[in-house]
């Protein structure tokens, strides 16, 4: 499932979900502020993934199969990504979100799962979240053609 976005003369990017109900439930759970920051950030990072080297710096491979978007570590950091002058913002706010995904083909990104790392920074939690993402990857590749 998914839909395209982008202007007439832009490369169209499609965002798909390996487990849409779980991702939607998580998006609800993290609260308004974080999801309002997260959604345009994900769109922006995927839309410009092949164009801007700064954007690629926000992604890191996790093993051989999947990658993670590393959104944060603060709100100002996200704003600087889009050249917003943050001098007028007095206090910064912590934001540590990880979104696991893989690039199915040039303009298709599949979101596997995500978690709020600021809630628990432990390695055990990280391993558990990566394992969950890998399960979703396995399920997706079993049911869909991967290019």
């Amino acid at each position: 499932m998914g839909a395209q976005f982008g202007g007439d003369d832009c490369t169209m990017v499609e965002i798909l979900f390996a487990d849409e109900p779980s991702f939607e439930a998580w998006l609800h759970e993290i609260g308004s502020t974080k999801r309002r920051i997260l959604v345009p950030t994900i769109e922006y990072l995927f839309q410009n993934f092949d164009t801007l080297s700064t954007v690629r710096g926000w992604s890191k491979p996790v093993g051989r199969l999947i990658c993670e978007l590393r959104i944060g570590p603060t709100f100002k950091h996200v704003l600087r990504l889009i050249d917003v002058n943050t001098d007028e913002i007095d206090k910064d706010q912590r934001l540590l979100i990880r979104v696991f995904y893989f690039k199915q083909k040039a303009d298709h990104f599949v979101i596997l799962s995500a978690y709020d790392k600021s809630a628990e920074v432990s390695r055990a939690r990280q391993r558990s979240e990566i394992a969950k993402a890998l399960v979703n990857y396995a399920l997706w590749t079993k049911e869909n053609e991967v290019f």
């Binding site: 308004s32 922006y44 801007l52 889009i82």
Partner: protein
């Protein structure tokens, strides 16, 4: 608001955001709108710059030659193609006319203060030192 001038169907992610944001307050929605506008402004700048660069190269024009045609400095054109400047509406019009490109770019004037104002207060996020 729509993202990057999309007309018609919203993306699945946007539809999802709408579903889970039904109970948001006005200030929470305002915060989201301010952020969306800031992202859209940057995206428009990128899209316009890419369109200029692509059309210029397709036409076989150097930056120096195109700059001369539209009456701007080559250095300014170079900065524009690297998303580092906001072209004036006059410059945009000249470039669109010279290159025959369709991408429109509007200087939306997103100020950090607008985002900052909309961002307060946000108790959901942990404050850093």
């Amino acid at each position: 608001m729509s993202f990057m001038g999309t007309v018609g169907k919203a993306s699945e992610l946007r539809q999802m955001l709408e579903r889970v944001s039904k109970t948001e307050s006005e200030s929470e929605r305002a915060f989201g709108d301010a952020l969306d506008a800031a992202f859209a402004a940057k995206q428009q700048r990128i899209d316009f710059a890419l369109a200029v660069k692509t059309a210029r190269e397709a036409a076989g024009l150097s930056q120096r030659k195109l700059a001369k045609i539209v009456g701007m400095q080559q250095n300014d054109l170079s900065r524009l193609e690297k998303f580092k400047t906001n072209p004036t509406s006059d410059t945009q019009a000249k470039l669109r006319h010279a290159l025959g490109i369709r991408v429109t770019y509007e200087v939306t004037g997103i100020l950090a203060s607008e985002v900052a104002a909309a961002a307060k207060p946000k108790p959901e996020l942990q404050k850093t030192a």
